[in-house]
Amino acid sequence: MRTKSENPVQQTSSTTVTDSSSTASMDPIFHLIRILPFSFLRPPRLRLKLPSISLPSSNVVFALVLLTYFMVVSGIVYDIIVEPPGIGSTQDPYTGAVRPVVFMSGRVNGQYIIEGLSSGFMFVLGGIGIIMLDLALDKNRDRSVKVSYASAGISSIVLAYVMSMLFIRIKIPAYLR
């Protein structure tokens, strides 16, 4: 619940900016510092302005959120702690050649770095597909833009779902059997 502003914010901030530099300040550390070094040191007169922090727009925040989601779902914490190799390797028993293994098999909670990143990418792609589908169904656009959004969205979702199913089937051979 928001407090109704009986005390307008701007007024207090302007008064306190001047007051904090005067003797009427109630900040004890300020008083302490005023006595100890600055009774004999003279601070130079500078023209400094506190930088004004403005809230970022919701699009920027959403992009950051998507990026964080991608990292978490790719298992980045697992990568940092367990430090698996980027890609596994197995040796062919007959020829002796070293073959790469993309999906760590044997357990559900284990991955190589690249498999984690590609799966995370598929998940985010699916999410973006649904978002594009919603943008396509928005009324106030040209028809061509809507069609391209819709087709991009549908193809993203289909691709992401098919690839995710493929990945999980490779990783866990007994899946859905």
């Binding site: 619940m1 928001r2 407090t3 502003s5 009986e6 005390n7 914010v9 701007q10 207090t12 901030s13 306190t16 007051d19 904090s20 009427a24 300040s25 109630m26 900040d27 004890p28 550390i29 300020f30 008083h31 506190l50 922090i53 809230l55 919701s58 925040v61 959120v65 964080t68 989601y69 978490v72 779902v73 298992g75 980045i76 914490v77 697992y78 940092i80 702690i81 559900v108 909670n109 284990g110 991955q111 984690g116 995370g120 998940f123 999410g127 649904i130 978002i131 589908l133 919603d134 169904l137 009324k139 028809r143 819709a150 779902y161 995710s164 990945f167 999980i168 990783k171 007994a174 859905l176």
Partner: protein, 718 residues
């Protein structure tokens, strides 16, 4: 939720007669139809959430699963037999011999009290059920309740359609099912219900501003605190959320103004040692208190003076309190488990016992996929919809979702806490998308005549989402997409049921495998061994085993154990670990000092069971070596590799754990075509087949050699 009434064009006369012959009461208005459908759906979801968790009851029997639930069951039994005040002041000398354990003060009583209350209610209604049945079915019952709360929560955040989808998603989501199957009698089964209830009541209080909802939310939080240690999540999330709302609506000025800066800094420092949540609470209290005082005092100068005096006084008192607290040790830093959430590498380097628990491992992508499936796609889409329509409630849900997803990424076990948020946000995505699509499907087609501009149908039609007549495929396309959406949701349901049936319904105490001809083979060795202990050992016998089995031995075997799953005393566990990793004579001295009568080991070499003590042995070495430097891990490895065959390290081949696991195993042929002494779990022939025990003798080995019990011989007469 406007529903257009369908006007029948020209029904055949027979149907017309039938319709007219129905009594007036059965013909429902649209609103009542909608209510009926909604209530019927929620009823079905309630039943579904319950029955999908009953796989193991149907396959095996109604029994308690795993390890921790056995402790909870034992305490609930004690509570129903002896009453609350005995339970609250219970000192248990049956575990952690010779230290004992203060049970009353070290557990979360919410779960036990809930189950005991249900038991008492059922007995009052003259249903004479055993407390074990109540315990087994508590978690599915509360899962059904959680689904209903999710419906109300979704209704609060978005609309009732999203609520129903949320209830349906959470009823079958594997992330929640994993900790709330029938038989999994653990704190989380009740705690997730309390968590969602608290959050729902809190959002309701934020939306309505009423005091009664906030009071209800406080009671919900009290229930949560009594049920699970995860209440820390609530107490940190809620103040963070309030801070975000403040910043969003009031702006940065309050935070920036100089008069608060230094004082706030000191306040932060003061509270940092105790809890981050109350830290932010204090800051918020400061905000509102100062605003109120400013309003009261009126005069600005007076207020400044008041502020000066208060802040100086508070800072000095706080500094003195902090100094005294730190010096006397009263204020302690964060416990290891919670600290490892913020710094995930901490446990790996410093506390091996936390790092060894498999639930505490960080999460790989496949665990996410297993537990969430489609919801992983719907979650970012749902976030997008929430950002599109920002309100107090959606901000809360977004924050809950993001923070819980981060923690779920750090620890597998916490996927459970993220599940309600993910289900809610995905439900928003599903509901919004389906609404969009159905709007297109049901839109009236604009006729060519209205293109001239005058007809009333044109003006009415345009408000309902008219589509251009030149795209007839739009309706069909939307229909196809709707079918696609339903296909995806049905795949989700199939996945959830499969995962529940195959992965999360195992009681862990009873093992199952496929025989040679595909038939199901059951290994009930654990309960066989515990029952043997109960029947064939003196009542005051002490059993030494690795801490995993402590709760089960105390609950089912009814014997005193040295260490159990509570793992509160690392040195005691390290002593047991040292005993297991030493040569037999050193281990005998340690066992004699602990008064051990029996030793229990779990061995999977005959059945191929891979969670046995030999596979856990390195953790015993690490934990023992963490406290007693005489145990060194490299002694047991060969070139960094852990082996049990001929090439294994000599210390490994002669340590107590090896001897107890493989005693007489060298004579046994386990697999056709392999030499005797072939270990099926490690896939190698063991190195030391001729094992002689000097200080212990074999007391019991179960049918499939999974649990082996040895008796410690008394010292020789001199």
């Amino acid at each position: 939720m406007a529903v257009t009434t369908s006007t029948p064009t020209s029904p055949p006369s027979m149907a017309q007669d039938l319709l007219n012959s129905l009594p007036k009461t059965l013909k429902l208005k649209t609103k009542q139809q909608e209510l009926l459908i909604r209530v019927a759906t929620l009823g079905l979801i309630y039943i579904l959430a319950f029955i999908t968790r009953l796989f193991s009851v149907l396959r095996y029997e109604s029994m308690i699963h795993e390890f921790d639930p056995y402790f909870n069951y034992r305490t609930t039994l004690y509570l129903t037999e002896h009453g609350f005040s005995e339970f609250w002041n219970w000192f248990d000398s049956d575990s952690w011999y010779p230290l004992g354990r203060i049970i009353g003060g070290t557990l979360y009583p919410g779960l036990m009290l809930t189950a005991a209350a249900l038991y008492k209610i059922l007995h009052f209604l003259r249903f004479a059920v055993h407390i074990r049945e109540v315990c087994v079915l508590t978690a599915p019952f509360f899962a059904s309740n959680t689904a209903i709360v999710a419906y109300f929560f979704g209704k609060e955040v978005w609309d009732s359609g999203a609520g129903i989808v949320a209830a349906a998603l959470i009823a079958i989501c594997p992330g929640y099912i994993s900790r709330s199957v029938a038989g999994s009698y653990d704190n989380e089964g009740v705690a997730i219900f309390a968590l969602l209830l608290t959050f729902y009541l809190f959002v309701k209080a934020v939306n309505t501003g009423s005091l009664s909802w906030s009071l209800a939310s406080a009671f919900g939080y009290f229930y949560m605190v009594s049920a699970w240690g995860g209440y820390v999540f609530i107490i940190n999330l809620v103040p963070l959320y309030v801070l975000v709302l403040l910043i969003r609506f009031v702006g940065f000025q309050h935070v920036q103004s100089g008069e608060h800066m230094a004082a706030m800094g000191v306040f932060f420092l003061l509270q940092a040692a105790v809890s981050c949540g109350s830290d932010i609470w204090i800051v918020l209290q400061v905000f509102f208190f100062l605003d109120w005082v400013k309003h009261l005092l009126g005069d600005v100068k007076l207020f400044q003076a008041f502020l000066r005096i208060t802040v100086t006084g508070a800072v000095s008192v706080g500094a003195i309190a902090l100094g005294v607290g730190m010096a006397s040790g009263y204020i302690s830093p964060w416990t290891g488990r919670f600290y490892s959430l913020l710094d995930p590498t901490y446990a790996k380097d410093h506390i091996p016992i936390i790092a060894s628990v498999s639930e505490h491992q960080p999460t790989a992508w496949s665990s996410f996929m297993f537990d969430f499936h489609i919801l992983l796609f719907l979650f970012p889409a749902g976030l997008y919809f929430c950002f599109k329509r920002l309100s107090d409630a959606t901000i809360f849900v977004v924050m809950y979702g993001l923070t819980s997803m981060y923690f779920a990424g750090v620890m597998v076990r916490l996927i459970l806490v993220a599940t309600p948020a993910v289900c809610l946000i995905s439900a928003i995505a599903v509901s919004a998308t389906v609404k969009n699509l159905t709007r297109v499907v049901r839109a009236k087609v604009q006729t060519l005549q209205s293109g001239s501009g005058k007809g009333t149908s044109a003006s009415k039609g345009s408000s309902k989402g008219v589509i251009d007549n030149s795209q007839p495929f739009q309706k069909n396309g939307a229909m196809l997409l709707l079918l696609g959406a339903f296909y995806l949701l049905s795949r989700y349901a199939i996945h959830c049921t499969w995962v529940t049936s195959e992965a999360y319904s195992s009681p862990s105490i009873v093992l199952a495998a496929r025989g040679a001809h595909g038939q199901r083979v059951i290994f009930d060795d654990y309960r066989e061994a515990y029952f043997w202990l109960r029947q064939n050992t003196p009542p005051d016998a002490k059993v030494m085993s690795w801490w995993d089995y402590g709760y089960q031995i105390t609950a089912m075997g009814n014997r005193t154990v040295i260490v159990d799953n509570n793992t509160w005393n690392n040195t005691h566990i390290a002593t047991v670990g040292r005993a297991m990793s030493s040569y037999e004579d050193e281990a005998y001295d340690i066992m004699k000092s602990l008064d051990v009568d029996y030793v229990l080991v779990v061995f999977g070499g005959v059945t191929g069971y891979s969670s046995d003590d030999i596979n856990k042995f390195l953790w015993m070495v690490r934990i023992g070596g963490g406290v007693f430097p005489v145990i060194k891990e490299p002694d047991y490895l060969v070139n960094g590799e852990y082996r049990v065959d001929k090439g294994a390290a000599p210390k490994m081949l002669n340590c107590l754990m090896y001897k107890l696991s493989y005693y007489r195993f060298g004579e046994l042929t386990t697999e056709y075509g392999k030499p005797p002494g072939y270990d099926r779990a490690r896939g190698v022939e063991i190195g030391n087949k001729d094992i002689k025990l000097e200080y212990l003798e074999e007391a019991f080995t179960t049918q499939n050699w999974i649990v082996r019990i040895y008796k410690v011989k008394p010292p020789k007469n001199r």
